[in-house]
């Protein structure tokens, strides 16, 4: 019983320490925004990026932006001031370009003024936590009237769930709207929808220029496009091949009306869903892992750039307006290099337990070890343990068990031993 009580407390202490010690460390030594921002410059026809300076920066080549040190450079190693950097990306920083009097701009024989730049740009992101199943879902969804009888979109009075039917629940009374449910379920069935449905993809907001309804994936994997038009169901079975294995769809109602959104498959391929009869246009992204990588598609009048990155490497593919790849680049982010504090820390603690993970909306209890450094950390903790044991001439079964605990938890186990002194607890 005594052993049980003691190790129960010590294990709890190890868990608590493994969560909070790294948290305190991050709060004290963590650096903000370690990610690199990469673009394809339509002016240079090169990849260009801005990132945090790590370590000692070269003289005079960095800029202090809000007290953090950033550097701007291109793939050939040329460095840029912040203003030069922004002029290399006129479609992104078109407002600054305008202020600096650099608009309209002529590029590749075309002239772009402020209005064109504004209207022809689009950015779509897909982060791991936004993928279905990687965050707690809403469960019920709105089907917004696509042809409202007024300016601006209005929220419907119902939400629908998609299971054995498409069931609408009225918000005023919190009851099923039988009529509407039957109408939509029937309309879907007539188009060949196989219940229960698998996925609902829509953008549940009225803060968008227009509404494209929702995309539904049925039990067989077929993709359906559903809208409410003047109160009536509008259903299209898209020609998207059910065998493609849809994992996620992200819709973006954008005035360019070029594509409905992004479609991610189970084998990590990513497509844009074209307005041209739902044609899937593949984005040529190698080594893309949707569970770990932020994905971004940057559209401007001349180029499309797919940028995707995990914690270490950022990759970018530049395409022309027909999504044909032109160039690609891969860069190890400066922010991924561990700082001195991080290196020292990895020799002190054998592991850390994180309760949040930027790649999921769920809370986690994720254990991260530091490879060989973890072993060294444990070795040092064990050495300290043995030294104290020898000096105090301790012995016995409990000492051996304490040793095992330290061998697994390093300094956390050592600290936990302070909580439960061996000599003071034996009856």
């Amino acid at each position: 019983m005594l052993l049980l009580a003691r190790y129960a407390l010590m294990l709890t202490a190890v868990l608590v320490l493994a969560v909070y010690v790294p948290m305190l460390f991050d709060a004290s030594f963590g650096e903000r925004d370690k990610k690199t921002h990469m673009f394809y410059s339509p002016v240079l026809k090169k990849f260009i990026w801005r990132e945090l300076v790590v370590g000692t920066p070269p003289e005079g080549e960095i800029e202090d932006v809000h007290h953090a040190q950033y550097v701007q450079m291109d793939q050939d190693g040329n460095r840029y001031t912040r203003r030069d950097f922004e002029t290399m990306l006129p479609f992104i920083y078109y407002k600054n370009m305008d202020v600096w009097g650099l608009l309209p701009l002529e590029l590749e024989g075309q002239v772009f003024d402020k209005e064109v730049m504004r209207d022809e740009r689009q950015v779509m992101e897909l982060k791991p936590r936004q993928i279905a199943g990687r965050s707690p879902g809403d469960g019920v969804h709105p089907l917004i009237e696509s042809v409202p009888d007024r300016a601006g979109l209005v929220f419907p009075e119902e939400r629908f769930r998609l299971d054995q039917a498409m069931s609408f629940i009225n918000a005023d009374f919190n009851v099923l709207d039988r009529e509407k449910s039957i109408a939509y379920t029937q309309a879907l069935s007539e188009e060949g929808f196989v219940f229960p449905g698998r996925l609902v993809a829509g953008k549940p907001t009225i803060l968008k220029p227009f509404d494209e309804g929702v995309f539904l994936v049925d039990h067989a994997g077929a993709v359906f496009h559903v809208k409410q038009v003047e109160g009536e169901p509008w259903v299209v079975r898209t020609p998207i091949d059910p065998a493609i294995g849809v994992r996620h769809i992200k819709i973006s109602e954008n005035s360019r009306r070029d594509f409905y959104g992004l479609l991610l498959t189970n084998d990590d391929k990513i497509f844009v869903i074209s307005y041209d009869n739902y044609e899937l246009i593949p984005l040529p992204v190698d080594n893309y892992d949707p569970d770990r990588m932020d994905f971004k598609l940057i559209v401007n009048p001349l180029y499309r750039t797919a940028v995707y990155s995990d914690d270490t490497v950022i990759r970018a593919v530049a395409m022309d307006s027909e999504y044909t790849p032109i160039d690609s680049y891969e860069h190890v982010m400066a922010g991924a290099t561990p700082t001195l504090a991080e290196q020292v820390f990895s020799y002190i603690v054998p592991f850390r337990v994180d309760m949040s993970d930027p790649n999921t909306g769920y809370a986690v209890l994720r254990v991260t070890t530091f490879g060989v450094n973890s072993l060294i950390a444990i070795g040092m903790a064990l050495a300290a343990f043995v030294a104290v044991a020898l000096r105090t001439r301790a012995k016995g079964r409990m000492l051996a068990l304490d040793g095992v605990l330290v061998a697994f938890s390093g300094i956390y186990g050592l600290l936990a031993m302070i909580l439960a002194p061996r000599e003071n607890v034996c009856p």
Partner: protein
Amino acid sequence: MLKALLLKEFVKLRAFWIVALVFNMCMLGYVYITMNGLFRLDHAEVVWYRVIHLGQLYYSSLTYVPAVTGLFIAAVQFFPEMRNQRFRISLHLPIAPHLIVMGHVFVGFLAVAVILIIDLAGLGLMTHTRFPGEVVARALTTAAPWMLAGLSTYLGATLVLLEPTWKIRMLNFAVAAGMTGLFLRGGVPGAYGPILPILCAALLIYTPSVLLPAYRFRYRRV
């Protein structure tokens, strides 16, 4: 014998338990009023939008209620036992000390758990009157770690109160506070869903640790 011990703790706690229950009921009542207030001030579909898609927590005032409840029950159960070291009476009873301590803890734990289950049921039922089942499920998943925090503060306060020395009492306090913090880290509504079983297991491992200060109290060297 164990039954008598449990009964004794029940007799000791029942008046305080009712106080705690009334407090929890008041908080539930407040949440109910808040929830209905939302629907009075806005159209139902707008309330649904905020709650379902923006993650507004109309029941956020419940967040620390279980933690306070656990703390309260542990305090009224073990403060009087530490006054004049009255706990010695129980520890002199002719049954093993771990049975005595776990008997006490079982009753307190149950007292807290019953209130927290009532809280969850109340939250679920009131949500059910205004929202679809998906929202009920998500509200329960969101509030579940708060309830676990209540059990954690109960155990933590017990750990601190039973410990006879000040130094270790402070350390126990740090562990207890840290443990409770694991359940209250927030995140989007329903975020704790997948790790609830793991946290329950952690709480289960944590539970027997209250025996340690009891042993130290029973057999201490001063």
